[in-house]
Amino acid sequence: TISMAVIDKMGHIAVGTSTNGGTFKIPGRVGDGPIPGSSSYGDDEVGACGASGDGDIMMRFLPCYQVVESMRRGMEPQDAARDAISRIARKYPDFVGAIFAVNRKGVHAGACHGWTFQYSVRNSSMHDVEVITIYP
C-alpha cells in the first residue's frame, strides 16, 4: 500500500491511498485503503496522516482520523501517531501496522507496531527524497 500526503505551495492538503490489498484474501474483501480516516485522512486546518498494515484491524479504529483529530486538539504529530497506534495495540497486541502524521506546519513523525516501518519525505529544503526508519 502507498498512502501519501501532500501540502502544496498554497498550504492546501490532499491525501491518497492505493493498494491491491492482502494476498490470498477472500474474494470480495476490502481493506482499509478506501475507508476514509483509516489509511489516510487530511484537513487543511490541521494536517494529514497515512497508514499501512493489517487493514482488517486498522479499519476498526480509523487511526488516521484519530491522528488528525488528536492534532486538532493540540497533540504533536509524534504523540498523535503513537497514541493512535497504541489504541489499536491495546486491543490487538499482535497487530501489525504503522502510521505517519504531519501537521499543517510540516512537522512529521511516525509510529509503528509489530514491524519496522519506513516513510519517505521530500520538502524544499531537501535535495532528494529522504527515508525515515521507525522502530516499534
Binding site: 500500500t1 502507498i2 498512502s3 501519501m4 501532500v6 502544496d8 505551495k9 492546501h12 492538503i13 490532499a14 491525501v15 491518497g16 491511498t17 492505493s18 493498494t19 491491491n20 490489498g21 492482502g22 494476498t23 490470498f24 477472500i26 470480495g28 474483501r29 476490502v30 481493506g31 482499509d32 485503503g33 478506501p34 475507508i35 476514509p36 489509511s39 489516510s40 485522512y41 484537513d43 487543511d44 497515512g50 499501512s52 498494515g53 493489517d54 487493514g55 482488517d56 504533536e76 509524534q78 510540516g106 512537522v107 512529521h108 511516525g110 514491524w115 516501518f117 519506513q118 516513510y119 519517505s120 521530500r122 520538502n123 524544499s124 529544503s125 531537501m126 532528494d128 527524497v129 525515515i132
Partner: protein, 242 residues
C-alpha cells in the same frame, strides 16, 4: 523600518531557528523547510519524486490533489513492493483487485473505489468518483463500469505471471495460509463450511494428529484454544499488507 524593528525581526528569526533545532533533536519528528511537502508510506522514492515534480513546478506548482494522483499513479505503474497496482496480491481465485482513495483536505471531498476489477488505474478512478459524482465510495464491477465510462482504459486482466505463479504455489500448499476462521476443512482448500469453535478444534486436532502423530499436544495445551481456529495462520509483512 526602524533599527529596533530590525533587531526584533532578527531576534524572532533566531528564535524560530532554535525551535527547529530543538524539535529535530527530539526524535523522529522533523521540521520541514518551506512548503511544498510530500510524505509517503514506505521507501517509495519514485512515487514521492513524481508527486514532488507536480507540486514544486516552477510555474506556481500543481495542486496537492494532482500531486497525490501523480505519486500514487507512479507506484501503480511501478507496482511498488507488489502491494500497489495491477499484478500483485492475488485473492483466493488468483485475481487482483484494486482499492484507492483520494481526499481533498480543503473541501473534505473524498472519492474512493474498492475491490475494483479490470481497471489498472486505482487512484485515477478514485479521483473520477470525487470529481464526477456526489458519492464517496464505489465498489466491485460497478466501480469498474464507472471508471471505464469516465474514460479510463479497461477492461483488462490485472493478473501478472508473478501473481499467478504465487497463487499456484499457494494452491499447491493446500491454500495455506488463509483468512478463514472457524471453518472446515481447516488445513486444505475450500469450499468451506462454518462450524462451531468446539467442532473446529476437533477438526484441526484430527487433521494435525493425522499428519504429525501426537505433535499437536503442546499446541492444544496452550492459549491457542482461546483463539478462533485458523486465525493463527494470519500473515502480514512488508510484501503482504494494506
Amino acid at each position: 523600518m526602524g533599527r529596533s524593528s530590525v533587531r526584533l525581526l532578527v531576534g524572532l528569526l533566531l528564535l524560530r531557528s532554535d525551535w527547529c533545532l530543538a524539535v529535530n533533536s527530539g526524535g523522529p519528528a522533523e521540521v520541514s523547510g518551506a512548503f511544498p511537502l510530500v510524505v509517503s508510506t514506505w521507501p517509495f522514492r519514485e512515487a514521492v519524486r513524481a508527486a514532488w515534480e507536480v507540486v514544486s513546478a516552477s510555474d506556481g506548482g500543481g495542486s496537492a490533489v494532482d500531486a497525490v494522483v501523480a505519486g500514487c499513479s507512479a507506484c501503480e505503474v511501478l507496482r511498488c513492493d507488489g502491494t500497489v497496482g495491477p499484478g500483485g496480491s492475488p485473492d483466493e481465485n488468483g485475481e487482483t483487485t484494486l482499492d484507492a482513495l483520494i481526499m481533498n483536505g480543503a473541501t473534505m471531498e473524498i472519492g474512493a473505489v474498492a475491490a475494483m476489477r479490470y481497471v489498472k488505474d486505482g487512484i485515477k478512478a478514485a479521483k473520477l468518483v470525487m470529481d464526477h459524482s456526489l458519492h464517496t465510495l464505489l465498489v466491485g464491477e460497478k466501480a469498474t463500469d464507472f471508471a471505464i465510462s469516465m474514460g479510463l482504459p479497461g477492461p483488462i486482466n490485472l493478473s501478472s505471471p508473478e501473481s499467478l505463479e504465487k497463487w499456484r504455489n499457494w494452491r499447491q500448499n493446500h491454500c495455506q495460509p488463509n483468512f478463514w476462521k472457524n471453518v472446515a476443512p481447516a488445513g486444505s482448500c475450500g469450499p468451506y463450511r462454518p462450524i462451531s469453535v468446539a467442532q473446529a478444534l476437533d477438526s484441526v486436532k484430527r487433521e494435525v494428529e493425522g499428519s504429525q502423530g501426537g505433535a499437536c499436544q503442546e499446541w492444544f495445551q496452550s492459549d491457542n484454544l482461546l483463539e478462533p481456529i485458523n486465525s493463527h495462520f494470519k500473515f502480514i509483512d512488508r510484501h503482504n499488507h494494506d
